[in-house]
């Protein structure tokens, strides 16, 4: 059993180990180490070893995989709204007291308007417009892309149709098929290896896909298609189960970066892609 003197020495040596001693206390500890000789140095060594053991034990914990449900809970948490209510000037109260004449005129106006609408619908020619003939773009195009990513990212031996070694052909092929002019982004600084590309369809349109792999073997891909949906230039992140998608629209082209929803850097990667592609 350690003596109270040793316990006191242990405490002071421990505080010294953490660098929390002042200059005067440091000098005192050094004198103490010299005074107690081997015993004090043994205690100091034990504390150091124990410290290293504890740090190592806690570092092991970091290797535990983070549950996807926890990642999704945080990624889909609703941030606070920045609603600012400005003081409104008091509105003057308007008194509405219609006369009999006003009521009759109003009713006639409504009847004429409704009749006009009905006439236009009834006499509509039986001809379809171009918009009606064109294939409608489904709002589920992101689902198509997420499904595609989920299926193909697991085919580790068949990830791409054209490999990175044949990039010029890949670019020519995808540009000709999708109508999108692009460059293959270099994401080596994010430790992403370019593997190649492929073509698939989403919402009935051809979509080009560039495929990358990170250090852990996870697949991240860039998909692009001509005028697939919207005109939203801002990046928007969406999660479809285990797949995270960051989509934006620019110059009549829709882009989506896809990867695991647990990938915290997906938006950084998307920002770099937007700057390079």
């Amino acid at each position: 059993m350690p003596s109270s003197h040793n316990i006191n020495l242990e405490c002071r040596l421990s505080v010294a180990l953490d660098g929390e001693l002042g200059d005067a206390d440091k000098a005192e500890i050094e004198a103490l180490l010299a005074e107690n000789g081997q015993q004090a140095r043994d205690i100091q060594e034990n504390l150091r070893n124990a410290n290293a053991f504890g740090i190592s034990a806690f570092d092991e914990v970091l290797r535990e995989p983070v549950p996807l449900t926890l990642v999704r809970t945080i990624k889909t948490a609703t941030p606070p709204r920045k609603a600012v209510r400005l003081p409104q000037p008091q509105r003057p109260s308007l008194e509405f007291k219609p006369t009999r004449r006003h009521v009759i005129v109003g009713c006639l106006a409504v009847a004429l308007f409704a009749g006009g609408i009905g006439f236009m619908i009834g006499s509509r020619p039986q001809m379809q417009t171009f918009a009606e003939l064109a294939m409608p773009v489904t709002s589920g195009w992101l689902e198509d892309i997420a499904t595609h990513h989920r299926v193909f990212s697991r085919q580790t031996d068949h990830l791409v149709e054209v490999s990175a070694s044949d990039s010029p052909h890949l670019v020519d092929w995808l540009m000709a098929t999708t109508g999108v002019s692009f460059r293959v982004p270099n994401l080596a600084t994010d430790k992403l290896e370019f593997l190649g590309g492929r073509l698939f369809s989403a919402a009935g349109k051809p979509v080009g896909q560039l495929v990358y792999r990170d250090e852990d073997g996870s697949i991240i891909s860039i998909c692009f298609a001509r005028n697939l949906v919207g005109n939203d230039q801002n990046m928007a992140e969406q999660i479809r189960d285990d797949i995270g998608l960051i989509a934006w629209h620019r110059d009549q082209t829709d882009y989506v970066v896809t990867g695991a929803s647990s990938n915290a850097n997906l938006d950084d990667i998307a920002a770099k892609v937007a700057g390079q592609i």
Binding site: E10, C11, S14, V15, D18, E20, N46, L47, N49, A50, N51, F53, G54, I55, A57, F58, D59, E60, V61, L62, E64, P65, V66, P67, T69, L70, V71, T73, I74, K75, A77, T78, P79, P80, K82, Q233, N234, M235, W248, R250, S262, A264, N265, D267, D268, A270, A271, A274, G275
Partner: protein
């Protein structure tokens, strides 16, 4: 044109901190089965309180303090400590889970996360002297564990 992600949104940063937040939560509650619930609750609070976060300070310290606060607000779960109902991978960390109650978080903050006694005290809501005492106690405990395992090997 270069599109930039929204840097006022802390959700991405919280996700990248998750391994460290889970480790801190384990040190605080020492109950593997509620670590993820504790971290989830604290992170949701962090997202809601994001406008209050001072960008000049460390996000992880703020998140640690929120985890501690959420834990202190859950007296029922605190009293159920010791029941081994763990179902995640943390149950195997006997070196940490075997520490005397309440000292693991101090050791983690000071020795692993490189916080000063004052910073750790602020996060845990205890005096700096208590942090120093906890760190010594943790080191002594680990020293005993080393000695025990050496004896068993001998």
């Amino acid at each position: 044109m270069t599109l930039q992600p929204d840097h006022t949104d802390i959700r991405r940063d919280l996700v990248s901190l998750l391994p460290r937040l889970r480790r801190f939560a384990l040190a605080v509650c020492e109950q593997p089965d509620i670590v993820d619930e504790l971290v989830g609750d604290a992170c949701l609070q962090a997202v809601l309180k994001a406008p209050q976060f001072d960008n000049g300070s460390r996000l992880e310290s703020w998140a640690f303090a929120l985890i501690q606060s959420v834990w202190m607000d859950q007296p029922k779960k605190r009293t159920s400590s010791g029941e081994d109902t763990g179902s995640n991978g943390f149950t195997g960390y006997h070196a940490i889970l075997g520490l005397p109650q309440g000292i693991a978080a101090s050791f983690l903050l000071v020795c692993v996360e490189d916080h000063s006694y004052a910073e750790a005290a602020s996060i845990l809501g205890i005096p700096p002297e208590a942090v120093a005492a906890n760190v010594v106690a943790a080191r002594v405990h680990f020293a005993h564990q080393i000695a025990d395992s050496a004896e068993r090997r001998a």
